[in-house]
Symmetry: D3
Subunit: 282 residues, 6 copies
């Protein structure tokens, strides 16, 4: 099965280079805003890429020049996440139960991006509001073009963001005072500010330059041992949520199997021989 077979109506998957998959939000006419279906779809895309042995690293980008994503498609969402208030003659607790399930239904596909075993490089440009932030906090590396306009929109439409931003932003390890500032005001912030605060780790002249650098980075990662790369991601994410003692114990158990790989030998040998190693699929 080729990566492109994972494509969905508004999500295009390609593989321009061996082991590199590019996932593109492809609904530019609506500024790549998300419908409920798209959340489900992006979850499927990432859970498939996660176990595809032909994929070692993923670039997440979006079509068009204007926007990475303008967030939730409000017209589509009226029956869902933010439409809880509309079915007026229903029992409040039952409505709450339905809403909780619905939130978890949206959270789950988005969490698939974070759970994806392969590193994900998120390339943002233009308008990157609301769900754009939720999604980017699930990715491993965040980069953007100079024209990116970020905003944690939710507070401006009367709600606390609930599909990941408020939970994951503190775990991106950027200063808390700044997190509170942007989340409580819903104000826009620039690429430059995002860089200074550590939210993104690179800003590039335009979308083209951004994608070139992302591709370079992806190729570099793709040539490395997938055992090493994916183990590195897994253990950093585990450590983020646990104490140092727990983290050390976990990596020791993890590597008790992983160090038995042939890849270590191959990597060392290639290093000595100054050639690029080739690693078996994972």
């Amino acid at each position: 099965m080729a990566p492109s077979d994972y494509s969905k109506p508004f999500i295009t998957v390609t593989s321009p280079f061996p082991y590199v998959a590019v996932v593109e939000l492809n609904r530019a006419q609506k500024l790549n805003s998300f419908t409920s279906q798209m959340f489900t779809d992006i979850g499927h895309v990432f859970s498939n890429l996660s176990i595809d042995p032909d994929v070692r690293v993923i670039i997440l980008t979006a079509a068009g020049e204007r926007s990475f994503s303008a967030g939730l498609d409000v017209s589509d969402a009226s029956g869902g996440l933010i439409g809880g208030q509309s079915k007026s003659n229903e029992d409040v607790a039952r409505k709450a139960w339905a809403l909780r399930r619905h939130i978890k239904e949206i959270q789950e596909p988005i969490s698939e991006i974070e759970k994806c075993e392969k590193p994900v490089i998120c390339c943002m440009h233009g308008i990157s509001f609301g769900a754009a932030i939720d999604i980017s906090t699930c990715c491993d590396i965040r980069m953007c073009s100079k024209d990116t306009r970020f905003s944690v929109r939710e507070v401006a439409v009367g709600l606390a963001a609930d599909v990941g931003t408020l939970t994951r932003l503190p775990h991106t390890q950027v200063p808390m005072s700044w997190i509170k500032d942007i989340c409580l005001t819903a104000r826009e912030f620039s690429a430059e500010e995002a860089k200074t605060m550590g939210f993104v780790s690179g800003v590039f002249e335009d979308k083209k330059a951004l994608l070139e650098r992302a591709m370079e980075l992806a190729k570099d990662i793709a040539t490395k041992s997938p055992i090493a790369v994916q183990g590195t991601k897994a253990v950093i994410n585990y450590s983020r949520d646990h104490s140092v003692a727990d983290g050390l114990d976990y990596i020791a158990v993890w590597n008790s199997a992983m160090l038995q790989t042939q890849d270590v030998k191959d990597a060392l040998l290639s290093g000595i021989q100054k050639r690029t190693p080739t690693f078996e699929k994972l």
Copy 2:
């Protein structure tokens, strides 16, 4: 009850703008240093503001030009926090028991600032030592004027800071190497350094400019849905202390009720109609 009714001898509360409360440390003649009573008082002020429906955002500032706060009033503290060593013929364990209770008694009112349901913007200027840092780490957004001189003083007077700095500073998510540096040396650091490290998220020319910007920010927050604003604060603070999985679960339960608010409808409608929405009190 008007915000001003919450005022205490050395703490003045005003409300210069609807829904915005300004809490001012008001003991400039002693560089706004804290007596035991002032700790108790500031706790009361914030626990009252926390549930006052006429307050949606709080600015914390201090009177005079010279100092936000010089820390603990050492003369007053002699019988308490740092005077444990004075009652010399008492049993060590009993003295320890009394000290532990005393520390918790001081910790509790300060924690009220953090527990306050409304966002708190801390505006520091001039000397901001010891307790000034403890208190600022309980606030959501930290800003300062260019002349601010910060210092985690405690190590210089022979003790490990125990009313919050050492506990909360790591949770402000600024680099740990820098935290250790300033806490182990008690050295002063400047507004500029605080900004670079992410401890404050804004530096302004002088106290006046600082307060103007804080007021602007406060007004902006005050016009937003209090359901959204206060939920955002609550969930970020919860997420800081929990894993991503726990955080996602918590926001889903939280929003199962909160999304049923009228505020979402009102916010969306005002957005479409390009007017400022008015939200019911909370």
Copy 3:
């Protein structure tokens, strides 16, 4: 026992100033790369310094101009950490068991640096790869000279770093997007980049200037109350791994004994008399 008595074949310990110990990696001819024995040895050095009353602060540096440490000595390591794959006719589970024990055996001495009760200032220069990073993340304050070349090497040799880097780097509280970038690519990063990201808190012209500043810092810390200094380190490290509520409780229990020290009185008095206090050994 003098600090120099703790010296080991490739690790030199000196005390150029009262209460200041300098630990020097001393295998410059091999770029200070680590053998298994050196890991064990550095653990012993630090667990001894940890309880030596004549030591209050430690500087960690390395001999020669070219490198702080080039990481694991691969030739020596072939039978160990990364040689798990070589004993080919053994049961996989038994080999895994041996590897897990071996990883924990390497982790333990390195963790002694973190567990050391005295503050540790890590001064890096030149090549600082692999184990150099592992070790530096156990130190309290990280500084470097301008010529430092950092790299989390492990992914390049086919493995996920397992003696501390992946676990402790997220707890240094630098931005996660950058952590993933450097760990997944194994790319070199400069002193300047390390400073901007908060990984080091100071960059100096050359090794000499670096060590001068470190010595200044160490002397400053050495003149402070060891009760205050070491309590500060202990409580920050505890807080890093626990919630705010747990942290406040811990410091209250801690200080119930510590505030009974004579050092507080002495520190306050010296402050008033504007003289340098002398504190009893700990």
Copy 4:
């Protein structure tokens, strides 16, 4: 959709009474041992029942007189869980990766039983080995007939149980000394012993008496408010994994919506009027 529509080849679902679903393992000819497919299937059954408004409580039982379940079908499993050792010329780390994924694939459907929002009453009889224990620890209430023979088998076939027993048994809150005894020896234990230790909360004369009592219990639960019943299950499970402080916070958020239900009024009124209330579906 009727509960019976959820049936799978070896898993029969019926609803002998309104709101009560009975899930029956139905492979008596093989002592109800589990194939890989059956794990996947039971997960689907429970995740469907979890959100079916016509189901409020579930009884889990098994066909035939001889066995609730004899555990894993070893012939079927040869290619999977315990067959990791067979593909001999593969890289150890890649095999480990595949095994970890495979374990998680088996864990997930079993966890669906625990995640099921409705209470699950597990009725065991006869041989109840291996996977039978894994599954029963996911259920809320465990009961059995006098002839039940329990065993945590895994250690006897050379492995540490990995689909839940070792993880969940400590959380059933039975004495740890006994848990270690049964897990380390793989010895059989009787219904009587299981009752004394608290593993099951009821022992009945035979399978018939057992199912009668389970049905009585199920009917009782089915007549209660589903808001109350399912909230109770959710909050107990959350509390099991968190501190008391976290648990109190969680139930406060939970009930802020749930207490607004009409069910409380209806339950109170029916109580006063001594009639059985009828509650809306959830």
Copy 5:
């Protein structure tokens, strides 16, 4: 101040023996059911007793022969905890916010019983429903008379118990299958069953015999070192909510002060001299 001065309208405090306080729920005409005011009051009583040096152990009992407590006084509660559904024209989210605050307001005084530094022995008799269970789970030792009828009532009135039972019951470390059984059915259980399951650690012939035994136990505890007794309670409660590693660290910090007490010497000496020691107040 004498213990009796802490008495409140329906809560009587006496001290029939030195260092022993008896708290009696005193609203027998209403089966000692709780009004909102009584929750607040019992919190005050216990927070006062917690720091009164003349109290070393507390017995909690209730007046009359029929009931320890029948739970919440439903008539009084109509405007509060379970009356959330009545103010029908209010915004759901604002009502949720008020309910959450209200639940926390009830939780807090009850938690004061658990936070009380002195051991609390809970003596139950007759009807012990709902809030009776909530409160008893905050006590250290639970005992009862043979006629006690227990019930976790909440599910029968349409709600998940939210002032502590569902959170603390799992932490009393009784079997989870039984906890789910009693919480999901709201069925009554007897003194005998409570004893078998470990919920109470003693059953006595009648209320008189129960109180005699409690008094004996209390006198025994009262003659021991308060440093030792209260430290023991504090550390067990901490350990319940933390890992073994955390617990060991905490007791080491705790005892670093506490072992310096004169009480250890006195206790050892009295042991040798076979006389009852007298310990200083705490």
Copy 6:
């Protein structure tokens, strides 16, 4: 090296049966009470046995008929754990620091028993006070003879137990009400009571019968795959301190290597052939 080579002055190690080690406290003339040296020694014994491939299970017993252990040897301890109060002219904080280190020094060897990778069966008889309980809570399976007299003594000598009892007893998962009862009163409890409460999982007529049963159990465990047995112990202990989600993740990582063992094949085959398998050393 033979197990007997691990023997220490008052601790005898033998191996009466292949793979079974018996550790005997051997200071009967002093009721097997512990000196500081014995704590250090027992730690060494267990850390050696932990990695000795000729040992698969350990029985811990004590010489003589009168006592398993009477606890701390008070005469020896005067300079240490409970003698903190004696050096009267020292600074309280420095004394506290020394005490904390000393407690941790005693905790560490005792924790070696818990950390021991092999299952430990603790066989108690006669007087089993204080340290006897501390040590037994580190063992996996606790059994005793009918004449055993248990007591958590510490509170009777003026201190909160600090080398493990208060921390580990809650994690043995026996009812909390009973734990508080025995810890707060220091009262003796019988073998029968210990059995009813789940603290021990077997009571035998006398020491001889006890050791016979322990040997039977040990032989049974010794014939099983050490990969399976030791993995089972490790994962149960991990699960005890972590949430269900964390536990499931951990066992999946663990078994990704362990399932690749030859032992699974051998165990399955022996099962089919109805013969006792032989497993390679670990």
